[in-house]
């Protein structure tokens, strides 16, 4: 039996170059685990960063993001 710590959690992957800092994903994240960086990306936008924990893999950020490739959500498939 797996301990809870062995179960990999879902997580977002953020491609910084494509992020334009509109902040839509911050608004639509139910767990408030995304926020805008203080730094700028190389195109001059504040970009999204993940707090590192708490993602439930709902996919809201992916669907609300206007950029095709800025955000991915990885969902582990749990083996039964």
């Amino acid at each position: 039996m797996l301990a809870k710590s062995d179960i990999k959690e879902p997580y977002p992957v953020i491609h910084i170059i494509e992020c334009k800092g509109c902040g839509r994903c911050v608004l639509d994240c139910p767990k408030s685990v995304l926020e805008l960086s203080n730094d700028l990306n190389e195109r001059g936008y504040h970009y999204i960063v993940y707090s590192g924990a708490g993602c439930t893999g709902c996919g809201n950020c992916y669907y609300t993001c206007p950029e095709p490739s800025a955000l991915e959500v990885h969902l582990p498939i749990r083996e039964k």
């Binding site: 095709p68 991915e72 990885h74």
Partner: protein, 477 residues
Amino acid sequence: MAEKVLKRPDSMYAEFTRKGGAAPTATHYCPGCGHGIIHKLIAEAMDELEIQDRSVMISPVGCAVFAYYYFDCGNLQVAHGRAPAVGTGMSRARDDSIVMAYQGDGDLASIGLNETIQAANRGEKIAVFFVNNTVYGMTGGQMAPTTMIGEKTVTCPEGRCAEEAGYPLHMAELLNELKAPVFIERVSVSDISHIRKAKKAVKKALQVQKEGKGYAFVEFLAACPTNLRQSSEQSIRFINEEVEKEFPLKNFRNLSEQVHPIVRGKSDYSKEALDNIFDLEHDSSMDSMDIPDFDQIGVKIAGFGGQGVLSMGLILARAACDEQLHVSWYPSYGPEQRGGTSNCSVIISGSSIGSPVVYQPDILVAFNRPSLEKFAKDVKKDGVIIYDSTVGDCDTIVPEGITSISVPATRIAMEAGSKKGANTAMLGVMLAIGRTRLSDDAFNRAIEETFAHKPKLISLNQKILNDATEWTKSNVE
């Protein structure tokens, strides 16, 4: 551990090479724009319905004019408001195609209103994705047909006034008056709960297309944070609280269960059928044949307007027609009748030709220095450049390793009787070097056909052609 990844659909390009720029993987849209969200929904539905190979996306005029940067499927870009007309042609010419017209409010509800209604009324097999953000985006935030009463834009700074500018057009309601449409729904992509509902409508509209059942219309209420000067949060509130009131979200119609697929007669594009329609003689021009070992030859001919650039291309194309090869002739010139620069692309091929544009010529014919300078670098490594000797010393222009022939074309033509025949002299050189694989006979017959209405010029041009081939034999290795 195995994982599932929510990410860019396969029906969108990974890199937008047509766009290029500093970030070729990012769209050209402003931060927070609704277009990208809708693009992703459409592409995801294409993936899920497995219709990517049959899909043709029509890009409009407006911010989404470059939708073809992003969708990895067949693409067309059309004039302002003309997507329904082109979509009609596309869906009728290719019965199995899935045609999508992606249009904004200015494009669809203003200049394209008539065609939109006509296409809907005919029940064309098109999925129309209508993006309503209540404002003209690309041109800088002017009042649109869908701008709401009291809403401020650049051209109604006090807010839209009904006495001045009428009322916002409700496209979904308007089309719902017609009998033919199969599916009509208005959705919103303001925030995630709305986006998830919009996804279902997009998929249904494309399902109707997949089954060939007819016209589907999805109106999206979308954000334009830039022109409406809103943050993402403000744009969401604006759509949910104000725009939705004016344009209620609703499925207006879904007849997909009740209607049958549209069956149209099969189009006959055979030469015989077309000859009959246009009442043409059958024997005057022969069909082109497929010759597997005849590789495509691309010829670029360039010079000043009036130097016979385009007519030289036509004679060459005729010669190839005579040998029953596949041929295309594609002119490019400025608005001037004389002068200016002009060039044409001729493709001669043993199989059918796709694009008629020659980007990397096997043979370049340059009548002047600017043409040589412009196109010499594009010539294939084993290509040939034929240029008029009046161009002068060209060692610095002709790339290393490429064969070039300086031809006294004007002199050859003048000695044969007319300096106007310099282009025919060039043609003679082209014939003599053999790269086109066309025969003497074919060139001579092409000259006869070209000058059929000026018989005196036939023998003159045939003499120039002959003199130029003789010149080539004695002057070119």
